[in-house]
Symmetry: C2
Subunit: 232 residues, 2 copies
Amino acid sequence: MSDDTDAVDDGDTGPGEGADSGPTESADSGPTEGATDPVDERDAHGWPFELRGVTETVVTTLGPNGRWNVAALGVHAGDPATARTYGRTRTWRNFRERGGGYVQVTRDPVDFVEAALAVREESDPVLESADAWVRVAVTERDETDEDGTPVVTWTLDPREAGVERERVPTTNRGHAAVIEGTVAASRLGVPAFDTATLRERLAYFESVVERCGGPRERRAWERLTDLVEAEW
Amino acid sequence: MSDDTDAVDDGDTGPGEGADSGPTESADSGPTEGATDPVDERDAHGWPFELRGVTETVVTTLGPNGRWNVAALGVHAGDPATARTYGRTRTWRNFRERGGGYVQVTRDPVDFVEAALAVREESDPVLESADAWVRVAVTERDETDEDGTPVVTWTLDPREAGVERERVPTTNRGHAAVIEGTVAASRLGVPAFDTATLRERLAYFESVVERCGGPRERRAWERLTDLVEAEW
């Protein structure tokens, strides 16, 4: 996901984004607030959940219309943790202009699909399904070019964190298949990837969702197929 | 996983299994104990974690040598929950002879790989990595034949449950790739599955583990490749 989901949030500016005309109840989440908000120190680096390898998260960033844009973001473990934006996406723009956002983890596959593949905006920065969230300040570390796409690496500095609920984690192959499905779906039409291979993968993940998923996984797959105009 | 991991635990009787010569500190987990052990009622059906679709669990069952055999088990949500054994596996034998076992969830990918692909026995029924466990009494519901393999469906009746720890669940594609890798690996050599397709899938999941996994996922993949004598 870290490689491509944000590319789906493709920098296409939606209606109303040109003006700060949205609701004002959403507070700016800029780094200047950090000093007065102690981090809930749940791990050594201020994150309220374990980071290892790449953790697939949802990030909300405040747009010029005063609404929170919802996107997928792969957070790379490290000190500091980092994340990449691919292209001139809303997240890239809002990171630059606001200096941060809310990184959150959700187990809801429908919210994940929408973050990865749809343009979604909310009036509140934390999704109802989020089990935990972290307000981060971001700093641009470097920018490279990958086949014409500007790839920016951001460092993420946790400033405030909250845990909404803890639970016994379970493993559901259907859930994982939805996540992998969003990766494959977001690569359709990208020249570097072979379409036949992606379709085969999507067909496989669809079968896993059908056999192993629960109702939310099946709903997420429906949403995915609605959002991606392709067949497999 | 529900379709095939237990088939890996292939009914081949290991050394010492013919006699009850093992350590005796492992108590029998039969259903007769249920009346005095109230279930920790964490959901409507007595399970200490959410069941939806198929949940990939690890099951330990007491063998004739007094040791706990560790295997993978896909638990199908329902009232009652059910699971299938494929072939004359250790789990099948122990379910029949002991009437139950310990179903547990772990997020440790190494333990999952070993449960699914190795023969592993422990002196204690609950793995250290288990976040929660359920002692179940099982009843054979039906047996069918799939291409010569006897497939038994068992109903699972929770009798006692424990939660070792709760946490904020996170999504790691590397973890999911390990789980999917064990499924593909356990199908290698099974006539109903195309080997080239399985190898292609394994190569893909390996790349996901490398890019997105943490140290335990990479270790789990090494273990998987050690246990499966194949290349992809």
